[in-house]
Symmetry: C2
Subunit: 358 residues, 2 copies
């Protein structure tokens, strides 16, 4: 049906109407399946549409329905399997409801995130799912609300913003992981995170930009304190932003006068670089150092040694976020303001007893 000539201008309702010998309005009704159309006309129009290979222009449709059947997703890094999986959850859920997804990657950069929100709003997405890079810069998220479009926060909440958030309830598992280390006799327990902070040290007053990291830390600190151990500022490290920084930080930890005997890595990307650094220095896990990673992936069971991890149901987080957003778009009541999915500690072989000092 497609002749070589007609690749230029797409056929429109008007074309179909003309061919079917009816008015534009009637053709639109027959095609859009709304209003009342007689059967004979409907068939005629549909045949004409078929002949002309008519496809509606969704842009035009969106423009006066006001809905684009598209949701925007803004994450820090799709390359990270964590967000990859979440994205899959969102995408599967959205597709099932007839929605498409526009994805924007911010590299955890606030300015990029601000631009991303603006662009998606301008593109008239129906709703937004955002893993906010910072709890402090939230004016742009307020804008989303002002625009009347629903916003769901992914993996992280933002205090002071009345938006629904879907998170992993990570603090209890972070406590469990820390407790496991404490049980094995460790007291010098380090935590390495990618988060950028004003300083790099730790204090009780520390305000973190990302709630999911705050929660990890809260869980760790509470477990430590329940055993009478004060968190040590030199063991809680931020700014592991890439391989180089992570390796440098790991090196610094190892060269402390009183180095840690166990390390908790805040995500899998960091874990990989920490482990590489340990291996390069000839340190073995868990003989020389115990290790726990946040996030579980298939490969975590196949490393040497298999890694003890805090497993997060991140696919389900994506599904939940999309589901809530879609419910709001459908005008249904959204029960929660803060959905939290449970994490679990998966014990494998990377935690061992404290090595005797040489």
């Amino acid at each position: 049906m497609v002749e070589p000539g007609d690749r230029q201008r797409a056929t429109t309702v008007a074309d179909v109407a003309r061919r079917a010998g009816v008015s534009k309005a009637t053709a639109a009704r027959a095609l859009g399946d709304y209003g009342a159309v007689s059967d004979s006309v409907r068939e005629r129009v549909q045949a004409a549409a078929e002949d002309l290979d008519y496809r509606p222009n969704e842009l035009a449709r969106s423009m006066n329905t006001g809905r684009s059947k598209t949701i925007g997703v803004i994450v820090g890094d799709i390359e990270n399997g964590y967000f990859g999986l979440a994205m899959r959850g969102i995408s599967d859920t959205a597709k099932a409801a007839g929605y498409d997804v526009i994805l924007i990657n911010t590299s955890e950069n606030v300015q990029t995130e601000i631009d991303a929100v603006r662009v998606l709003l301008d593109k008239r997405v129906d709703g937004l799912i955002v893993a906010p890079a910072s709890s402090f810069h939230i004016e742009h998220l307020r804008r989303v609300d002002d625009s009347g479009r629903p916003l769901v926060l992914l993996d992280r909440r933002v205090p002071g913003l009345e938006a629904v958030s879907v998170e992993v309830d990570i603090a209890p598992s972070a406590s469990d992981a820390t407790a496991a280390l404490l049980d094995a006799g460790h007291t010098r327990i380090a935590f390495v995170s990618a988060l950028q902070t004003e300083g790099e040290g730790y204090s009780d007053r520390l305000q973190l930009r990302v709630s999911s990291v705050t929660d990890r830390l809260a869980g760790i600190v509470s477990a430590l304190r329940s055993r009478g151990i004060e968190p040590s500022a030199d063991l809680i490290r931020f700014g592991a932003l890439g391989p180089e920084r992570t390796r440098a930080i790991t090196g610094e930890l190892l060269e402390l006068e009183d180095p840690p005997t166990a390390i908790l890595a805040s995500d899998s990307l960091i874990a990989l670089d920490v482990l590489r650094t340990l291996r390069d220095r000839g340190l073995r896990v868990p003989d020389d150092l115990s290790f726990v990673m946040f996030d579980d992936f298939d490969w975590a069971a196949l490393t040497d040694p298999p890694l003890t991890v805090v497993a997060q149901p991140i696919y389900d987080v994506g599904v939940a976020a999309a589901t809530i957003l879609l419910r709001r778009l459908a005008g249904l009541p959204h029960d929660d303001v803060r959905a939290r999915l449970p994490a679990t500690l998966v014990l494998r072989d990377s935690v061992g007893p404290v090595p005797v000092r040489a």
Copy 2:
């Protein structure tokens, strides 16, 4: 500037024009920065826009420019780190050029892919990047051409379709990997792929749906034949579509009368399940069985043992695909019809000598 009341209707050029006391046309000129506008008017309009917090409706803009500044990407599985990285390459490149990306996941399902193409075309994306699930069903890809919008194939080419493809030149590395196994003395070399085929066996006449797998196989077969070894149909296996199937296939291979002494896994997802199956059966790599994986990821160097892999520059493939698409969108000449990036064999420790039969 945002009053609680105005969340309903967004401000338009007409609003700005009224406030600035000029015509809609003039306001549009001042805002859109085209045509001729006097400085005084421009300032007045811009001030008005600022006051009203004006944001252009990209939908409306797209509708009569005909361009949406959006490209569509269709892949089999974003959850797979392979496509995750490619996506990142595409996304980074697109963003740098002011384009956004709509992502659709097909689960390697042809019908879903057909729908995806239709939806994206209807949404009036400016161009498409597709990793086609099948070389046989390509009418929907032809449609893209007919629509006048550029199409770039990612990772896979489609014979008979005159579209640009960006691929990894994988055959030579597949040969190298096979040669490495042959050098170690292996002759019973298995290949496990996720690809669905009519039968599950192998024959020379076999037509595969995905060129990147065809190429892997071609490289393997040519290396075998150069040593006078005929590929054995029972060692070349398809249909490893999920953990269960992969484990079943691996089990079947191991239970052959004359089982393989080496396995090549067509991608990292399969590799993980093969390795798990081996471990569950108490088989060690490389002592009991040698192993090579296509795709390299950070974790591949940290497994037990570190894996010998065929590393593919998949991020760069994404960048190249997006670059070519953007060039075509800009009306620039597109030199290649088929860009091919080199893969490399990375030797680690998962290949060893053939074990002596017990």
